[in-house]
């Protein structure tokens, strides 16, 4: 491992021993950590008021920052904004980790930013910082949705509290999406690049299985990356998938059918299995626990029904027809209703009827809103028996809305002429119409 960045000469003021420990824990992230450390400077010196660190998910942003702050023993407060439903929680956590319980107790109920800054100032004038204090805000993009001034204030906190404090913002988004419209203090932008394939391979190979050789595990990772790399570059996801499928990979070796060096045979064994995993475990169709169980009992992977296979819903007879009517009303243009649903319609020219550019576009554009009258008209024409428009029919419509099979487009309190949209997929409606022996394809304009 190259240890260029952790030479004592480059980062004076830190112990060599702890720098080495940091380097061991940060594989493939040495340049970024070195850059960050040199921007932070020595513990007693002033640091930048705000550093904005961005990069893809699982590119080691929090990991690098936390390891650096922890191993080098700098005073810091790490807060994930996702946990802070109100700014109060954020203030409390920051004050708690810098000044202890007293400061938190001094906060009034529902404190404003002004209170926070005042209490911070009081306590820091009592206990002046010998080192730079760091506030780490993870998932900083959520700051934008909180109080309007929160982001602008934290960016220039150093100036406001007159303390040697530095704020590190970590986010997946770029800074351009953060900037408030009257602007604010611009932080220093630091990019954490994604891991390359080789780096992913190196990191994933680190957690090898004790009973097999390192090369064996490395070749497994190679195959895994070959299948998943085009879709997913998330280190955590890949690590999870690697841990899940390793037992399957070892199977031939354990049974004695192949040796560890039999790469081709092992590949032939695992590849279809991994492809299956992409459609199931990767999409969380099948939980990891079920997947492991399935491997144990040697079940065929396709036998397992995922979450989405359970989408079949039992509905009353009229509800089914109501849903079918809604689907037809959503995906057919209104001018074609006459041709589909009126028994003895006059002559309609076929060339006129089928406008060329419209063909198969409705299933691409999505459902269109329709009025209640039109839906009921279609409903009466597709149901063979005579149905009275009773209260139960109307209550079934509103319960379809609560089941989220229909959505109401118009405002909820509009009682006359409400508008709806059908919110079910093609597969779902086909399954429904099969149960009532209704050929829906025949009635869809797109498939004419």
């Amino acid at each position: 491992m190259s240890s260029s960045w952790l030479q004592q000469q480059r980062h004076p003021g830190y112990e060599e021993e702890s720098l080495r420990r940091v380097a061991e824990q940060l594989p493939c992230r040495e340049p970024q950590a070195g850059m960050l450390l040199s921007l932070m400077g020595e513990p007693k010196q002033y640091s930048l008021p705000c550093i904005f660190i961005y990069g893809h998910r699982a590119s080691g942003k929090s990991h690098v920052v936390n390891i650096l702050l922890k191993e080098l023993e700098m005073p810091h407060a790490t807060v994930s904004i996702a946990e802070c439903i109100s700014a109060t929680l954020l203030f409390q956590q920051v004050l708690l980790s810098f000044f202890g319980e007293d400061a938190v107790a001094a906060l009034p109920r529902s404190p404003s930013l002004s209170d926070f800054v005042r209490i911070y100032k009081q306590h820091c004038s009592r206990a002046t910082a010998e080192q730079t204090r760091y506030i780490v805000l993870e998932k900083a993009e959520l700051l934008r949705d909180m109080d309007a001034n929160l982001l602008s204030t934290f960016v220039r906190l150093q100036e406001l509290v007159e303390d040697n404090v530095s704020v590190l913002l970590l986010s997946e988004l770029v800074w351009d999406t953060f900037r408030p419209n009257t602007g604010c203090l611009e932080p220093l932008l630091l990019h954490f690049p994604d891991y390359t394939k080789a780096e992913l391979h190196q990191i994933l190979s680190r957690d090898k299985h004790p009973s097999y050789s390192a090369d064996f595990y490395a070749s497994y990772i190679h195959i895994l990356l070959g299948v998943f790399y085009a879709v997913c570059r998330d280190l955590r996801e890949l690590r999870h998938l690697a841990a899940l499928n390793f037992t399957k990979f070892c199977e031939p070796v354990a049974e004695g059918k192949a040796t560890e060096s039999d790469t081709h045979k092992l590949w032939r064994h695992i590849e279809p299995h991994l492809k299956k995993a992409m459609q199931t475990v990767y999409l969380r169709e099948v939980s990891s626990l079920e997947w492991e169980k399935m491997q144990e009992v040697e079940m065929e992977a396709s036998h397992l029904r995922g979450l989405s296979a359970h989408s079949h819903v039992e509905l009353p007879f009229y509800s089914k027809f109501l849903l079918i009517a809604a689907y037809l009303a959503s995906y057919n243009p209104a001018r074609t209703d006459k041709r589909f649903f009126v028994k003895h319609h006059g002559k309609i020219k076929k060339t006129n009827f089928l406008k060329k550019n419209e063909k198969t576009s409705n299933h691409l554009l999505g459902p269109k809103p329709f009025s209640l009258d039109r839906m009921l008209a279609i409903f009466y024409s597709v149901v063979d028996t005579r149905v009275a428009p009773t209260a139960s029919i109307f209550s079934q419509i509103s319960s379809l809305v609560t089941l989220q099979l229909l959505t109401q487009v118009s405002h909820v309190d509009q009682l006359d002429a409400p508008k709806y949209k059908c919110a079910v997929s093609m597969d779902f409606i086909c399954a429904i119409s099969r149960t009532v022996n209704f050929d829906i394809i025949k009635y869809l304009y797109d498939f004419l």
């Binding site: 980062h11 004076p12 893809h56 009081q122 351009d176 690049p193 879709v231 691409l364």
Partner: protein
């Protein structure tokens, strides 16, 4: 005492080891760049300084009530100007004894109630016990106004109100605070000076008529009309070490190194680019800070290459950095969206259209390499949405199915093309597909 002087003298004569010099250098320059240490003189805004100093002196010494606004873009040195003026003002004994200061910030004092409490607290009025302020908003206001009204020009101590982020105060309800402060400054009550700092040029339009009429309309603009040679001088002066640096010889070496650096042609070119981009000193400090962070005992002097590297960091496009890390599938989706945008003239699209476009590409290529199932593609699409590379057109996300939600691409064509060039091991067919004008 004597020993301390001795050791100081000793330190001056002895040459220190390089690592200690570098530590001192970092300490000195970091204070300048990160902590906005006040400069001894303001060359660029001499006139403004004189104007403001005179104004505040009249309030502090003669008890004249005044109001003024300091207007300038972000990073143009408004706060530094005010701090310099206050420093020079407080040099006088009389003023130091007399003047009361109240500092408010529009970011922190988000409504009038909080601002009022802060004022009472900073003025140490009698309804403050320890740190707590008592009384309701109305009581506080009445109390404060009474206290201000009772005073007169000759006997009361003058108060200086500094309102940072002045435009945010104009958003308070009825502008009560602004009205009362400016009203006091207009009528013959306690002498107050109200100084607002803002970056909005149209700030007067935000004020209500009654508030505006009470404002003196004295504006101090901090618009920089700095030339490039001044900018260069500024770089040199910002980087050079002061005379009281512990190790004289190191400081001299460093300063001459900085001089030669600024005369370098390539450095000048980089600085010109920054100058053309923005003239505010904050972004300059950022550049210099990045240069400084490369200085260590191993590398004790700034080289042109360091400046180049720092400037490259300042100017990188963060969006294309993010595009670099997308997976192949996500990149394919971005290309499909680009083609949809080209064909339909920037109309919003939904997932089905993008998927359809992608499938067309796959059929034409007829290789099953990227033949992913729809749910896998949806997952990639949602990841793009999380990264805010695509944004829903209308906010009602719960109402429509996720395949049919209308989206807009937040990327420029040139960004996508550049990303395709930079993408590591981009498959050739995908590259060609992305480059072709019409799919």
């Amino acid at each position: 005492m004597c020993q301390a002087i001795m050791s100081k003298r000793k330190a001056k004569s002895v040459r220190k080891p390089i690592s200690e010099c570098i530590t001192q250098l970092h300490k000195c320059l970091r204070e300048r760049f990160c902590h906005d240490q006040l400069p001894s003189t303001l060359e660029a805004s001499e006139a403004q300084h004189k104007h403001l100093l005179g104004l505040l002196q009249r309030t502090a010494i003669h008890g004249e009530s005044n109001s003024a606004l300091i207007i300038g873009p972000r990073g143009s040195g408004k706060t530094v100007l005010l701090k310099c003026v206050l420093r020079d003002l407080l040099k006088e004994k009389e003023v130091q004894k007399n003047l009361l200061q109240v500092h408010l910030n529009g970011l922190l004092q988000t409504d009038d109630r909080i601002a009022l409490k802060e004022i009472t607290r900073q003025l140490n009025l009698e309804n403050v016990v320890g740190d707590k302020v008592f009384g309701s908003f109305a009581e506080n206001l009445v109390f404060l106004l009474e206290a201000l009204k009772k005073g007169d020009r000759s006997s009361t101590r003058p108060i200086l109100f500094v309102l940072d982020e002045f435009d945010l105060f104009a958003h308070h309800k009825n502008q009560t605070l602004l009205y009362n402060l400016l009203d006091v400054s207009q009528s013959a009550q306690a002498p107050v000076a109200v100084v607002g700092l803002t970056c909005r040029l149209d700030v007067l339009e935000l004020l209500e008529k009654r508030v505006k009429s009470r404002f003196s309309h004295r504006q101090i603009h901090m618009l920089s009309n700095l030339s490039f040679s001044q900018y260069q001088e500024r770089v040199a002066s910002q980087l050079s070490l002061p005379d009281d640096f512990p190790d004289r010889s190191f400081a001299e070496d460093w300063n001459s190194g900085v001089q030669s650096l600024c005369e370098d042609k390539s450095v000048e070119e980089i600085l010109r680019r920054h100058f053309n981009f923005s003239r505010d000193f904050r972004s300059l400090h950022m550049l210099l800070m990045l240069c400084l962070s490369r200085i260590s005992p191993v590398n004790p002097i700034i080289k042109p290459a360091d400046v180049l590297e720092a400037s490259r960091m300042c100017f990188t496009d963060s969006t294309s950095n993010m595009l670099h890390g997308l997976s192949i599938l996500e990149l394919c989706l971005v290309i499909s969206m680009k083609h949809l945008n080209d064909v339909y003239g920037g109309e919003p699209f939904n997932f089905q259209m993008v998927y359809n476009e992608f499938k067309k590409f796959l059929q034409r290529k007829s290789n099953s390499m990227y033949n992913f199932e729809q749910p896998v593609v949806i997952k990639a699409f949602e990841h793009l949405q999380q990264l805010e590379l695509i944004r829903p057109v209308d906010g009602s996300s719960a109402k429509t199915q996720r395949e049919y939600q209308l989206m807009k691409l937040m990327l420029d064509n040139s960004q996508i093309i550049e990303a395709l060039h930079k993408y590591p091991q981009c498959p050739t067919d995908i590259k060609q597909w992305g480059m072709s004008a019409f799919a």
